[in-house]
Each structure stands twice: as C-alpha cells, then as structure tokens.
C-alpha cells in the first residue's frame, strides 16, 4: 500500500509539493503574525475555566452559609439579601503614610471590625449560642474571601478580554495555580466552620489545651483563658483563645495582662503556632526557634515583642508545619499527632532553659474552633 501511495505521489510530485509548500508557507506566516494572539486566547481560556470553578465554589459556599445560618440561628424571614450584603462587606485598610501610632489604630480598627461581625451574625442567627456565633462568623469570613477572589479574578479576566493585552492577561495567568490553591484552601474550611470542627490553625490551642486541661482556669483578656500548671517545680502559665467557638482571641492582651500581673517576673515565654511549610517538608513537622510565633495583622506580634522587650524576657517559638490547604480545613491526623510532639518540645525547652521555681508563659496561638480547654 505504501509503495502504491509512493508511486501516486511520485506521479503527482510537483502538484502535491506545491500544495504542501503553500500550506506550510501559509501556516508559517499565520503563526508569525498571530502567535501572540493564539497564546493570549489560550491563556484567557484557562483563566475563564478557572474562574468558572471559583464561581461555582463561592456560590456553593454562599448557599451553605445561608443554610447553616438558618439551621443554627433559626432567623425569621429571608436572610438571603442580608447575607449577600454582608458577603460584600469590606474594610478599608489603614493609611500608613505616617506610621507612628499605627498599631493602636490597627487595634481600634480590628475591634471595630469584630464588633460589626458580632452584630451582623447576631442579627442573622438570633438563636445561636456564643460558640456557634463565633463559628458562623468564621463561616461568613470564608464566603467573603471566596467572593473577593472571584471578583478580583473576574476583574482581570474581563479587563484582559476587553483590551486583549497579553501583559494584563499574563499577570493573572501566571499566578492562577496559586490563586486556585488559595480558593480551594478556603473552600475546604466551609465544612469545618459549618460543624465546628478543629482546623489546621488550631494546633497551637490544642497544645495549650493539652497542657492546661484539668487545671483551674480564668479569663485573662477578651476571649483568652489561662491556667497555672505546675511542672517539675516550675509554674507554667498556659493560655489560649477561649474555645470551643471559632476565635483567635487577643493573645497580645493576654500576655500583657499576665506579665503585668507578675510584674515581669517570668523566665521565658513559649509561643506555639501553626506555620506554613515549604514544599517537601512533611505535614506536622515540629520546629523550634526564637521569636513570637504568631501571624495575623502584625498588631499582636508587635505588642508581644514590645512587652517582652520591656521586661527582657526571652521568647521561644514552636512551629507546627502545614500546607496552605490545611490551615482552615478540618484537622488532618498528622497535625493532631504533631500536637503531642509539640507538648514534648514545650516540656523539653522548659527543662533545658529554666530552673525549679521559675515561671514560664506558654501561649497556644491560633483559631480554637472545636477545641475546648
């Protein structure tokens, strides 16, 4: 068959050659002029597909938020429009042209933000308990985050489509995998906040809870609970956000109050928190270091650093490594198991760096949803 085909080709060699060469030349010229356009269209297509996925996720998150609010809060009337309005809620960042005093401004800003969330959730879910309200606040925050991601991505997609500017499109296209990773990470939190399950960020409070469970506890700041735990002749003052509702509390205020009460007579502070892992690092790896292991806006870290510097108290840090996809998702087993290792680390640091009779403050930093004390 091949030979026959070859003979036919040989017979019509010149015609076929001409046709193929014309086609080749045409394709070459078309590619020469439209390569960038083809690439642009291809990138737009990928952004569009991803955007569709993000849209589906944010709509599902919204539906589940409304469903949970109705289920738990038992509101009267249709809460849909109010939820939509609140999902679109925004907070204007602080002006930092003159950064002096910005930490106090940030403190005030965050407290205002918290009050608004509390009031809105109370109105949306009047029959929810304070613990459930905290969880619902977190649930709404996830819906808000997904909504923001969707709107920003849509903005760049439409802008790129309108201008057909490869550089506008390329900017979104380049960060698309990271954006999708973040969107998936947030959407994984929906189930946890709906039901009040512990999340990856809750490893710090779990470590604190394991240390303080069974000892008398008292409130030392807003949404912060502490307990004095005797350990090998030392006194550990362990504190965490008050659970089991979804809250991070005000650990900076907790630490300030404890140190003021003790007049700075504390040998050491140990902060335990979840930390982002690098690719290749195992989930649940426990690492030790120094400094304040705390994320957030930076306000808490600043205040904690300031007070420890005032009293010249060394700060040790324990980080429990996890991926972005674990932070707000229901807690995975390796992370829960890592909390035992972190407890051992705390005890070892206490033994290595302190003497009997010393006082050590241990702070379990993070969201305490699904974690009591």
């Amino acid at each position: 068959m091949v030979l026959i085909f070859g003979q036919v080709l040989q017979a019509q060699e010149s015609d076929l050659s001409m046709i193929l060469q014309t086609l080749y030349s045409f394709a070459f010229i078309a590619y020469l002029f439209y390569a960038q356009k083809i690439q642009t269209l291809q990138m737009l297509r990928q952004i569009e597909v991803t955007l569709r996925k993000v849209k589906t996720l944010k709509e599902e998150a919204r539906e589940r938020t409304v469903k949970t609010l109705i289920e738990i809060g038992k509101p009267t009337g249709d809460i849909g429009p109010r939820v939509d309005r609140f999902i679109d809620f925004f907070s204007i960042g602080l002006e930092n042209m003159d950064p002096a005093g910005i930490v106090d401004k940030m403190d005030h800003f965050l407290k205002t933000n918290k009050r608004v969330y509390e009031a809105e959730v109370k109105a949306l879910a009047p029959n929810a308990t304070p613990t459930e309200r905290n969880n619902l606040e977190n649930l709404i925050e996830v819906s808000q985050a997904l909504n923001i991601y969707y709107k920003v991505m849509r903005h760049y997609y439409l802008l790129g489509k309108k201008t057909m500017n490869i550089y506008v499109i390329m900017q979104v296209h380049m960060i698309l995998p990271m954006l999708l990773q973040m969107v998936e990470a947030y959407s994984a939190g929906i189930q946890a906040f709906e039901h009040g399950m512990p999340i990856g960020d809750g490893v710090g409070p779990i470590v604190a809870a394991k240390l303080m469970h069974g000892y008398p506890q008292s409130d030392v700041a807003e949404e912060i609970v502490a307990a004095e735990v005797p350990y090998e002749g030392r006194t550990l003052i362990v504190f965490k956000a008050k659970g089991p509702g979804g809250s991070v509390g005000n650990p900076d205020e907790g630490l300030i109050n404890i140190l003021k009460e003790r007049k700075g007579k504390v040998k050491m502070i140990i902060t335990v928190d979840a930390a982002g892992k690098l690719e290749g690092e195992p989930v649940g790896q426990v690492s030790e270091g120094i400094g304040a292991a705390i994320g957030g806006t930076g306000k808490e870290k600043f205040k904690m650093e300031e007070i420890t510097n005032k009293y010249k108290i060394p700060m040790h840090a324990i980080a429990i490594k996890q991926g972005m996809e674990h932070v707000v998702a229901p807690l995975v087993e390796p992370l829960f198991d890592a909390t035992d290792k972190a407890v051992e680390s705390v005890k070892r640091i206490v033994m290595d760096y302190t003497e009997p009779g010393d006082v050590v403050v241990v702070a379990g930093i993070g969201n305490t949803i699904g974690v009591g004390q």
């Binding site: 085909f5 060699e13 050659s17 990928q46 597909v49 991803t50 998150a61 009040g196 089991p244 974690v371």
Partner: protein
Amino acid sequence: MAGDQGSAQPAAGMQVSWIAYAAILIVGFLSLFSLYMGFINYGDNTDIAIIFIFLGAAGFAAIGYMLFRGKPVATAKDDTLTIKKVEVYTTLECPKCQQKRVRDFKRGDYVFKDDEPCTRCDGLMVITKIARKKEEEDKKKKEESSWL
C-alpha cells in the same frame, strides 16, 4: 483542539479524554507515515522528502506539546467543582478505665468535651481527638515523595 481539554491535568490522575487519545493516535500514525515516506523518498525526491520529514516531525512535536505541556489549573470537565466533603472522626476516652471509642464527628463535638457516659464504668468519656480520616491520595503522595 482536543488537547485543550483532553491533555488537561495529566498529573492529576491522567485525566485525558478519549477524544484526546484518539487525536494523539491519529496524529501519531500520520506523523509516523510521513516520516517513513520522507525517509524512503530521500535521495530520489529530496524536496518532497523534506516536506514529509517536516510534517512528521511537526506531528510528533504537536503530540509532545499535547502530552507534556504545563498542567492547566482547571479544566472545563473538572470533577472537583463542588466543595469536597471529608470524613471526620471523634475519639473518646474514659479517664477512669481508659476505655476508648471512635465514632463519626457530630456537630457540638470539641476536644476535651465531657461527652457521654462510659459503657464500662460510671465515668464520663472525654473527647480526646478530632481528626480527618486519612485519604488514599495522601498515602500515594507520601510514597511518591518518600525518597526526598
């Protein structure tokens, strides 16, 4: 065009559609044939042989592109279009007799909650662990990267 969706996510479970496979097969066969024609005609009809070789090489290049290009971030036929629901379990322990029980998580559970009476003694079982059930995917990932 099949490659647009078909070659999507080879890393995520080789989700290549049958249309893409068919296109790859056809293009592969034609490219192979073109190369063959190019080689047998080389010398006698060098001009046409070069065109055949070029077409064959271009075909294989296109297949390579379809298979090995960067993983798109999402596909139109993506099966993860809903929020994934994971199974979470609760472990309860009796502080008196150390009796252990594992059950599915239910709303209201939290770590260190005094939950239910112990079935063995008169103690109250305490929730000591709440975690997500291990997934097969996690195990596979661990195996893949164990050498690192």
